[in-house]
């Protein structure tokens, strides 16, 4: 792994150069993959703090990539707010792309949910609102475009396969069948409101059973993109299900997008020994979950013990907010209220490697607030 000094964000990858870019937090995260041959894959979405546009689209514009033609897939790994912000606009722009989501999102229960909540809460950055926009784009593409239905994936689904020059495989390692049925039960029992029930915003579903983990392998170079899949020790679900089914065939990954912001629940002790190459690169984004900052110092220590090439898109997901009006600041101070902004500090980690060069090595470039993960061990805070 070679860290490039003075990186130039606008320099596009070569045709035979594999790229994995991780953006975040921006209230969530987004991953962009160059599959070589000028075709791209977008996974999840977050907004660029400066332009308030989806980070992927801002990046494509800088690289002069024609998002309307060159993006093959837009993947929504799961519909948590922190992974879906702006995905409606991304899909609208990526006209030639297929929309990929988990099988559970094609269920009538989920469609009922979207219909019930669509437009009900204009505020709140609801994931449902983003999905409504995706539905709208799908509907508009009915005219003369074959890409109408989303690509519903589950563990084992091959999204894309190119046999040679170079050999490319994009495959989903989750969600499992058990996760699909668990999600239907959750939609029905916890999310779809019953008659007479008091209204609220759409509740979040934990853990992220439906999250899509992807393996992207180009000319033998594998990247494991962990989404937010968690491991909470339930049979047939989470990382254990991925390991049980795929660790024999989908292993020796050269890099990983760490699952669930580096949290303890996003980790399984067998992921690294069974699915990763020694000292593979690792990338993650921070998040404020409840009152806990992710990753915690303990999480950072664990990840740094597994990889000496670990990077994070920003040291923290929040920054203190100062209201522009003195009278409001005074009022907040008197009330003892402090406000933080989520996603204001953003960064971008870019890994690249030429696939046709047998002696090639990965390079890493850091932009914005991105830094080496080990630096977080030197700073106070985040316990």
């Amino acid at each position: 792994m070679r860290k490039l000094d003075g990186p130039i964000l606008e320099s596009p990858p070569q045709a035979d150069e594999l790229e994995v870019s991780v953006f975040g937090p921006g209230f969530g995260e987004c991953i962009v993959v160059h599959l070589t041959g000028y075709s791209w894959l977008v996974i999840d979405s977050c907004l660029d703090a400066r332009t308030k546009e989806p980070a992927a689209l801002v990046y494509f514009q800088k690289l002069r990539v024609d998002a309307s033609k060159d993006v093959r897939f837009v993947v929504s790994t799961h519909w948590h707010n922190d992974h879906i912000r702006g995905i409606g606009r991304v899909f609208e722009k990526c006209e030639a792309a297929k929309f990929v989501c988990a099988h559970g999102l094609g269920s009538k229960e989920f469609k009922n949910l979207v219909s019930l909540y669509s437009g009900y809460f204009p505020s709140g950055g609801s994931g449902v609102e983003e999905m409504r926009q995706v539905f709208s784009s799908l509907r508009s593409r009915l005219r003369g475009n074959a890409f109408v239905s989303p690509e519903f994936v589950s563990a084992g689904t091959i999204l894309y396969e190119q046999p040679a020059n170079p050999q490319i495989l994009v495959k989903a390692l989750s969600p499992s069948s058990a996760a699909y049925f668990a999600s239907i039960v959750k939609f029905t029992e916890e999310l779809i409101p019953k008659e007479g029930q008091r209204r609220s915003t759409v509740p979040s579903v934990e853990p992220n059973d439906l999250a899509i983990v992807l393996t992207v392998r180009i000319a033998g170079l594998g990247s494991l993109l962990g989404a937010d899949l968690e491991e909470v020790g339930r049979s047939g679900l989470g990382w254990q299900a991925v390991l049980d089914r795929f660790c024999e065939i989908d292993n020796f990954h050269e890099g990983i997008k760490i699952s669930h912001h580096g949290s303890e629940t996003g980790h399984h002790p067998d992921i690294w020994p069974k699915m990763m190459k020694e000292d593979a690169w690792a990338a993650l984004t921070p998040y404020l979950r409840g009152k806990k900052h992710l990753p915690s110092k303990r999480d950072v220590k664990r990840i740094c013990s597994l990889s000496s090439n670990a990077y994070i898109t920003a040291p923290s997901s929040t920054t203190k907010y100062r209201h522009p009006k003195p009278a409001v600041r005074k009022q907040l101070r008197e009330m003892g209220v402090s406000i933080v902004e989520e996603g204001a500090r953003q960064g971008h980690i870019r890994f690249r490697r030429r696939v046709n060069d047998p002696n090639g090595e990965w390079t890493v470039e850091l932009f914005g607030n991105a830094c080496e993960l080990a630096l977080l061990l030197q700073s106070p805070g985040q316990s």
């Binding site: 907004l47 703090a49 009922n112 219909s115 509907r139 609220s200 915003t201 406000i339 989520e342 996603g343």
Partner: protein, 208 residues
């Protein structure tokens, strides 16, 4: 049909409130007219007020339907004399200067505080997050501080009888319960989506 003109201060995110800067010390009021020819709110109100009833009924129902509004003045235009002044309903007139207005959603509640996300519209970014003392919410609304509950938070100045004071008002919206009709309509919309988009439930595809 009688025309009752409720003058309400727009404290709602759905109602236009214009510039909230303190330099514009003019409160923005929103007139809600309940008659056959008024466009504003006519559609939404017609469902709620089938029987116009008395003025008092209007007030009670308005307060129930739009708890986020502060009632300032009540004028019955039928009783207004040509060229005369508006009759007072006996309520003390006050005006508010809004410095900041947020829509909030409760994330979780602790013993003495609750944590919420704050938005100024759907496109608001970066999103703000605050931890607020439960005691900042009126006693009768504290049972509504639940995960997912939406609320409004206004900080501003209130001018009343020549005096000005700073205020913070957190108001939880007492939203109507889901109805059977809404749930059934959502099912129909979801089915239409299947037909229009050709998007079928994976279980049906597998069966077919």
């Amino acid at each position: 049909m009688a025309t009752n003109n409720l003058v309400v201060q727009s404290h709602s995110s759905t109602a236009p409130y214009g510039d909230t800067d303190s330099a514009l010390a003019t409160p923005i009021c929103h007139h809600v007219l309940l008659n056959e020819t008024t466009a504003d709110f006519q559609m939404s109100l017609s469902d709620k007020f089938e029987d116009p009833g008395t003025t008092a009924t209007y007030v009670a129902e308005m307060v129930e339907a739009f708890p986020q509004f502060n009632l300032l003045r009540l004028t019955n235009t039928l009783r207004r004399k040509p060229g005369g002044r508006e009759p007072s309903a006996g309520l003390i007139e006050e005006r508010s200067i809004i410095l900041q207005q947020w829509d909030g959603v409760v994330l979780f509640r602790g013993k003495t505080t609750f944590t919420a996300r704050l938005y100024e519209g759907y496109q608001d970014f970066p999103v703000k997050r605050a931890e607020i003392e439960v005691e900042e919410v009126a006693d009768e609304q504290r049972d509504m501080i639940l995960a997912g509950a939406p609320f409004s938070w206004i900080i501003g100045y209130r001018v009343r009888a020549g005096t000005r004071s700073r205020f913070s008002e957190i108001y939880f919206r007492r939203l109507p319960a889901w109805t059977k009709k809404e749930i059934e309509e959502a099912e129909i919309t979801a089915s239409k989506l299947d037909e229009e988009v050709g998007w079928t439930d994976p279980r049906e595809s597998a069966a077919g």
